[in-house]
């Protein structure tokens, strides 16, 4: 059974359809890159996966649970799915370590010592243990995003969602974040990543999904996606983002 399964997921904002019959799946341990022009619905799609955005038609199964069903305990399901946002979204009124501890204590019920130990280990891993007591506003964008990844990992997620994790970063900070993500992919984390970083896709993705105007236009293995002749729309997009 796939870890994440989308069956004809459709979503409307009023009369405007943002997602059109999106069907795909993510197996355990798979790394999927979702790309496409802005406004193509890729961020909306990934936010549907953990129920941050509701959808009107179709079915979305995560870890055997239907996300759209009213009987699903969404907070419980979300606690198992890590998510990293474009704008980091660290809590500005809490220190770095408190950001990592918060949900471990309040949602998973870990005690303060257990949580802090876990948090410190993860901060060491992303190279930011010296910044544990600082506030998010005192860190650079790249550092904040690494903290955000550590915060998501602190929940011991079964899968990770990334919504354009490097789009808000200055160019010189992109790699420090990508390095953490590559390492995570190589360890076998199940990942769904919305990004334009094709270098990342080439390195670790198993499949690449291309979206345009709310539709999944292409869903291919990495080698097929970058290798064989793709549809004109995909080629156009790739040539635009690869040669800028």
């Amino acid at each position: 059974m796939a870890m994440i399964e989308l069956k004809s997921v459709s979503k409307w904002y009023g009369s405007f359809q943002v997602l059109k019959n999106c069907t795909t799946q993510v197996e355990k341990g798979e790394v999927i890159v979702v790309c496409g022009p802005s406004g193509s619905g890729k961020s909306t799609l990934i936010k549907c996966v953990n129920g941050l955005e509701p959808f009107q038609k179709g079915e979305l199964i995560v870890n055997g649970q239907s996300v759209g069903s009213a009987s699903t305990d969404l907070p419980k399901l979300r606690a198992k799915i890590g998510m990293v946002f474009q704008n980091f979204e660290l809590f500005p009124h809490m220190s770095v370590i408190a950001n990592l501890n918060l949900a471990q204590i309040k949602v998973l019920g870990r005690n303060a010592d257990e949580a802090t130990e876990k948090s410190r280990a993860l901060l060491t891993r992303v190279g930011l243990i010296d910044h544990a007591q600082k506030f998010p506003g005192q860190l650079s964008g790249g550092q904040q995003q690494r903290v955000a990844i550590a915060r998501a990992l602190a929940m011991d997620p079964i899968a990770m969602l990334f919504d354009e994790p490097t789009s808000a970063l200055d160019p010189e900070m992109i790699n420090e974040v990508l390095d953490v993500m590559v390492e995570l992919a190589q360890e076998g984390m199940t990942m769904m990543v919305v990004t334009h970083e094709m270098g990342f896709a080439r390195k670790v993705a198993h499949r690449v999904i291309f979206m345009d105007q709310g539709e999944i236009v292409d869903d291919a293995t990495k080698d097929d996606f970058f290798g064989t002749t793709r549809s004109e729309r995909v080629q156009q997009f790739l040539s635009k983002i690869l040669h800028h």
């Binding site: 419980k76 799915i81 998510m83 704008n87 979204e89 660290l90 009124h93 998973l108």
Partner: protein, 229 residues
């Protein structure tokens, strides 16, 4: 210029005026705390997507904000005893005293204003923060109390305090139910001793000093707590 005036009257009346000031401060502080607590609940209700929750809160706020404060004070002073009489079945209307009835009136009235301030404060917290809280598995209650409200209140502190200064001035209205606050005390002394000009001048100066220094403090605070985003 002030020949013929007797400013000693102030000194003689100081203990009495001090007691009045304590009533003013007490009313202000208690009504502020109560108003902010109730206002927060109302703000969360108004922001709810469920109509049975948001509509009553909206009606309450609009009703109270369209009513003169003095009328609300009267209502509670005269209507609460009648309500108690009905509920308890006593043969006579048992009041709760001017202080408590004024306190309830101020709390309910201020809650309507605090509600709107707090609602704006909550809406000033970016939606991404709420999403991040939910994505970590926090439920509505935890996301609201741990992530949204702390940031909202931090942004709101200056305007909440400014509203408190206005409330402090408004407490002078309690003379209508015979409660002696600072203004009431000054007024009584003025009339008893026939020293209207001296006492009202003194009261104005004291109100000005307190409110102006409080607003300077708020301004200073405002500069210090620009949110570190």
């Amino acid at each position: 210029m002030f020949t013929g005036f007797d400013f000693d009257v102030i000194q003689r009346a100081l203990p009495y005026l001090g007691q009045g000031m304590l009533t003013s401060f007490g009313l202000t502080l208690l009504a502020m705390v109560g108003g902010i607590v109730l206002g927060t609940v109302l703000a969360l209700m108004r922001l709810s997507s469920i109509k049975i929750i948001s509509v009553p809160a909206g009606i309450y706020v609009n009703l109270l904000r369209a009513t003169p404060l003095i009328l609300v004070i009267f209502w509670f002073y005269f209507l609460v005893p009648i309500a108690i009489k009905h509920i308890s079945g006593d043969s006579y209307a048992q009041g709760i005293g001017p202080f408590h009835s004024a306190l309830i009136a101020f709390t309910l009235f201020e809650a309507a204003y605090y509600c709107e301030i707090i609602r704006a404060g909550i809406q000033s917290v970016p939606a991404g923060q709420v999403n991040a809280a939910y994505a970590l598995g926090l439920n509505y209650r935890l996301a609201t109390t741990l992530v949204v409200l702390p940031q909202a209140f931090r942004n709101m502190v200056p305007i909440l305090l400014t509203q408190g200064i206005i409330l402090f001035q408004d407490t002078s209205l309690v003379y209508v139910v015979g409660l002696t606050d600072f203004m009431g005390a000054a007024s009584k002394v003025a009339q008893r001793d026939g020293r209207l000009v001296e006492m009202y001048l003194f009261a104005a100066v004291i109100y000005f000093i307190i409110c102006f220094s409080a607003s300077l403090f708020v301004k200073h605070l405002q500069l210090r707590i620009t949110p570190p985003r």
